[in-house]
Amino acid sequence: MTRPCTLHLSRIAGLAAAIVVLAGCGRPGVPKQETAASRNERAASPHLVVFAPPPLSEIPDDAFGAEVRHGEALFRNTLANAPQYVGNSLTCQSCHLDAGRLAGSAPMWAAWVSYPAYRSKDRRVDTFAARLQGCFRYSMNGKPPPLGSPVLVALEAYSYWMAKGAPTGALLAGARYPVLPRPAQGWNYARGKTVYEQHCALCHSPDGQGLLVDGKPWFPPVWGSRSYNWGAGMARLDLAAGFIKGNMPLGNGGSLTDQQAWDVAYYIDGHERPQDPRYLGSILATREAFHAGPFDTYGRSVDGRLLGAGTGTTGTTTGAHGKRATKPAGT
């Protein structure tokens, strides 16, 4: 089946410049242990396959299709559909836009053909399902659904269906988030605050706590007790900056400069959030074990505050308005 290339790919400028359409021609020997360097290499690689997921109207009307739709619903309304595993106000599509379909927003069709993969974070080869569990544990600050549980099966079915026709193991254009070069000016809290106030605060609130509409979480909190915890990928500056550059402000991704994206990522990840569930009893030990990289803010002093004490409760399943949630620190 041939589908047109996704138009929005062209918006991810750095990547698009390097895209050469070599349909079905994946490069062998891709390093599975992702580092900033290997991601840069992949981003600069001309051997990218352009792929577009099928339209939702092609979901089959059968038992499998029902599971796919269940997965789509989970993706959009994660708390309502999987309350026992969600501990904050985010949904899957807070980070994976357009219900996991958007190139440059870590789309699920690209993720599906990238696993099993070795992940330095877990120091082992993870299956796709195990990777999904990580999303719930860290980004959703909740509890990982058991392997084979209805929630994981539905999300797997949805992802598999979306990746139909994508070559396994190939380098797909628009996989993950855009990779930004290290910023010339480094990153800066005060500059990031200015970017945040000008471009983010309208929807995410000046205090980072997002907004409720008709009583429901609407614009997600970006720090504090109802946001992703310290173990999430988004708590890493390079990933957050790439996501922001490619996708924010929502509807006009690519409009911030790389420097603005790094600065505002530093500002956002320069605030307290729920503790890393791998916490080893001290900030220092946890930093040494899990946050020793150049893009971590955990365990660092930002704007005069040592980050990593955690706020709210880690791993709660009390949902968006959990009673145990406390007022976020540092706001």
Partner: protein
């Protein structure tokens, strides 16, 4: 002749209102003074709506209706119930020639800042017309875009609220209600954003949206929101958690 008479009356009333407020304000309490000022503001706006301004702005009612209900067949949008901050912003854009519409530019050119504020307050207090006849069944594509978006275009309801009711509070200037507006009007706005003929809003969001949507998508999503009931055109509650 009749309109000249109306102008004269409006002029007299306007002068009277301006003269009356400061005289009375010294004798009444602060809250009463505020009420008097609001009453004078509404009266000033009502005169402009019905008869135009002494400075030469046409009456709003000619196109937008005496109740601000709009005219669907002529693609004139309803103004009743739209948030004042949004209306102020639009009138300023017309006044500054930033939003492209020769009629509205000419009218807003003749409005002072205080008249703009008064008109916005006036229309925001009116109840929107309950049904703005959308006679065409909107295509499924419209609902798809409205509720889920497409690719880099977010779901419209993300910013315009459930049902296109708009988001209230501090967001009301940026994210107005769009439910029940004439489809042709909505379509023209999206085309205007695509062609850089209307300020693209915060962070250029609507400019980007207009440029990403196809002509078919623009038509479909305009028909969808034209068919949404304006009775729900009360800005959605937005709360800081």
């Amino acid at each position: 002749m009749r309109s000249m008479l109306a102008f004269a009356v409006a002029l007299l009333l306007g002068v009277a209102a301006h003269a009356a407020v400061p005289l009375q304000a010294s004798k009444v309490s602060v809250s009463e003074a505020g009420q008097l000022e609001r009453d004078a503001q509404i009266e000033l706006a009502r005169q402009i709506v019905m008869h135009g301004s002494p400075q030469g702005a046409h009456s709003c009612a000619t196109c937008h209706g005496e109740e601000g209900q709009g005219k669907t067949k002529a693609a004139f949008p309803h103004l009743a119930g739209l948030p004042a901050p949004y209306l102020i912003r639009q009138l300023r854009h017309f006044n500054q020639m930033a939003r492209d519409n020769p009629s509205m530019q000419a009218i807003a050119h003749n409005l002072s800042e205080s008249q703009i504020v008064a008109l916005a307050a006036y229309f925001s207090r009116l109840v929107p017309p309950p049904v703005m006849g959308a006679t065409v069944q909107p295509p499924a594509l419209g609902e798809q875009l409205a509720l889920h978006g497409s690719g880099a275009v977010p779901a419209c309801v993300t910013c315009h609220g459930p049902g296109g009711r708009g988001l209230g509070g501090a967001l009301s200037a940026a994210f107005p209600p769009i439910a029940g507006q004439p489809a042709v009007y909505l379509e023209r706005q999206l085309v205007a954003w695509r062609n850089d003929k209307r300020p693209a809003g915060p962070d250029g969001l609507m400019g980007a949206v207009g440029k990403h949507l196809t002509v078919e998508q623009i038509r479909a999503v305009s028909l969808y929101f034209a068919a949404q009931p304006t009775l729900s055109n009360v800005p959605t509650a937005v709360v800081r958690p």
